[in-house]
Amino acid sequence: MEPDLPLAPAAFFILFALGTGDKHGYAIMQEARELSDNTVQIGPATLYTTIQRLLDADRIREVPRPEDGDSRRRYYRLTAAGKALLKSELARMEAMVKKSKALRLRLGESS
């Protein structure tokens, strides 16, 4: 298991958002909100503090701006280590969902 697991919500949503392609900070914020059905609100400071941590840990890297990109913003991409971390976290979550389903079945049977 990766040493950084379980991921903090902000780190998870940043990696998840970047899993679908390169993005700038605000696009990551928006995607996190959509992915969580508006239940997770990542503010600017949380976002960029976490981005800095992920950059330092080589989980994401800065990439050149796309041609149609916003010149005022920087864009980020998952690294191989970032993809591996995201996969591990998703696998951990899937295992938890399986366990919780089994628990729910048992609880349902006992009631």
Partner: protein
């Protein structure tokens, strides 16, 4: 961009000085951009609420060694908490709005005075209000 958004963005640029210097230097412009975009999309109250939360969870802990920020902020928080409690009690027991207004004004006044006194004390070399 409406006036409220413009004022909020300008205020947020000032608030940025409370955040750790590294974060401000590396991402200050983008934080302001993200804040402004979010104001237009998510609404002023919701965004400021998350900024308030971040001030307590990121800015304050990041300024532990900076008494020029930490001392006034802690004093302001303590005054705001104590005065806020008074206001809450006043609102609960007041029967007329006119009874609440003086308490509210006094509380706001006390909080503002407390903030400026703390600011002054933290910059004064002779002060005993030091955390370092």
């Amino acid at each position: 961009m409406n006036r409220l958004v413009r004022c909020s963005s300008a205020l947020y640029e000032r608030v940025l000085f409370l955040y750790p210097a590294d974060l401000r230097r590396n991402f200050g412009n983008e934080m302001t951009l993200a804040f402004t975009d979010d104001l237009q999309r998510a609404g002023v109250l919701r965004v400021w609420w998350s900024v308030l939360y971040e001030l307590l969870t990121i800015a304050l802990p990041g300024q532990q060694s900076n008494r020029f920020v930490l001392v006034p902020a802690l004093c302001f928080l303590m005054v705001a908490l104590s005065q806020g409690t008074m206001v809450w009690v006043g609102v609960q027991h007041a029967r007329l709005v006119s009874q609440v207004v003086p308490v509210l004004l006094m509380s706001v006044f006390a909080a503002v005075v407390g903030f400026f006194v703390a600011c002054f004390c933290s910059r004064c070399p002779m002060t005993t209000v030091r955390l370092d």
